[in-house]
């Protein structure tokens, strides 16, 4: 009987057992490498298409700034919600976060932007502000007159017979400059975002 008490006492009052029980402490769990953290630069060149800013759901989380090395996206910690949409939307793969780029490559998926321009013909008074302000038009026809009239049909927007015409909507970059310059809110740009699977089969 006394021997078994000694046995139990030795079993239960071991020093390392007591130490582990009373002062158990594990290091805080490390953040795993696949965690979708704040986007980081991959070193590829940004071409200033601004898809990251268009897709970002959080106000003020990302902007693209001009630096000595060219355009560079900048993430604002405290605004960014780490959704990873900017990483997926970037056509050049400038940003990376967790396994997003890897899984996009494996699954052969991407986010594709397209833009639709709607002109309300009842509100449009043909002032041509949209066509003159449009930066795409500026590249095609730098000499466009103030009324938005032009002889060429390669333009994105053009005023013809007192109304604004959308000629080549595929040239739109979704900057919404026309929308901001319209005095009547007659022109509206819709940014359409779709997740595309197997892009080479679709195109």
């Amino acid at each position: 009987m006394p021997l078994s008490i000694v046995y139990y006492a030795k079993e239960f009052f071991r020093w390392e057992w007591a130490r582990k029980f009373l002062a158990a402490r594990t290091a805080p769990l490390v953040i795993p490498p696949h965690f979708r953290n704040y986007p980081e630069m991959t070193g590829k060149t940004c071409t200033h298409q601004l898809f990251c800013m268009m897709v970002c759901p959080a106000p003020g989380a990302i902007d693209v700034v001009s630096t000595a090395e060219g355009w560079m996206p900048r993430i604002h910690v405290g605004h960014c919600i780490r959704c990873g949409l900017c990483v997926e939307a970037c056509p050049n793969g400038v940003l990376t976060s967790g396994r997003i780029l890897e899984s996009m490559f494996n699954d052969n998926t991407c986010l594709s932007f397209s833009f639709r321009i709607d002109v309300d013909t009842k509100k449009c008074m043909g002032c041509g502000n949209c066509a003159v302000a449009c930066p795409v038009n500026k590249l095609i026809d730098a000499q466009m007159s103030h009324g938005g009239k032009a002889s060429t049909d390669d333009l994105l927007l053009k005023v013809s017979e007192g109304k604004c015409l959308v000629l080549h909507v595929e040239k739109c970059t979704g900057c919404k400059t026309c929308e901001n310059h319209c005095p009547n809110e007659a022109i509206q740009v819709a940014r359409l975002l779709e997740a595309v699977h197997a892009p080479e089969d679709v195109v």
Partner: protein, 151 residues
């Protein structure tokens, strides 16, 4: 340093009492704070206890983009906490308002306008690990040798 002070340091480092207050968040960060209590992260093994009573708290976790209903109350709650005390902003909302900081909303971020914030844990929501390491790193800087520094 006196023996009493070193004893206080030792005790305070193993007994950090936390109260959290939600000043208008989406509850995402609340769930992450509660996840710290769960066995996976186990906040109590570091000597951090969540009481939710400002009278006995050392650390106040502020969650959420400040809504108008908290205008007077958060200030009062902060004054109820005995010294030494520290407030930690959890998540994007107390820092910038996150998704709620849009025109024509009533929220009034950042929370640092209303009470002094010592540390910020960005993220929407932050990981429990990040909350845990923020509390563990801010607590010694505030509570260690508090009486010595006060003199």
């Amino acid at each position: 340093m006196t023996i009493l002070q070193s004893l206080k340091n030792l005790v305070r480092s193993k007994s950090i009492h936390v109260a959290y207050v939600d000043v208008g968040s989406c509850n995402g960060c609340d769930i992450e704070v509660l996840a710290c209590l769960a066995p996976r992260y186990d906040i109590e093994q570091y000597g951090i206890f969540v009481h939710n009573n400002p009278r006995e708290a050392d650390v106040l976790l502020v969650i959420g983009a400040f809504t108008p209903g908290w205008e007077e109350k958060l200030q009062g709650l902060w004054q109820k906490i005995p010294d030494p005390k520290v407030a930690v902003a959890i998540g994007n909302c107390p820092i910038s308002g996150c998704l709620f900081a849009r025109p024509h909303t009533l929220v009034d971020p950042p929370v640092s306008k209303h009470i002094p914030i010592a540390a910020q844990v960005p993220g929407c929501p932050p990981r429990p690990t990040e909350i845990l390491s923020a509390i563990l790193s801010v607590a010694p800087t505030v509570f260690r040798d508090y009486e010595v520094r006060k003199k």
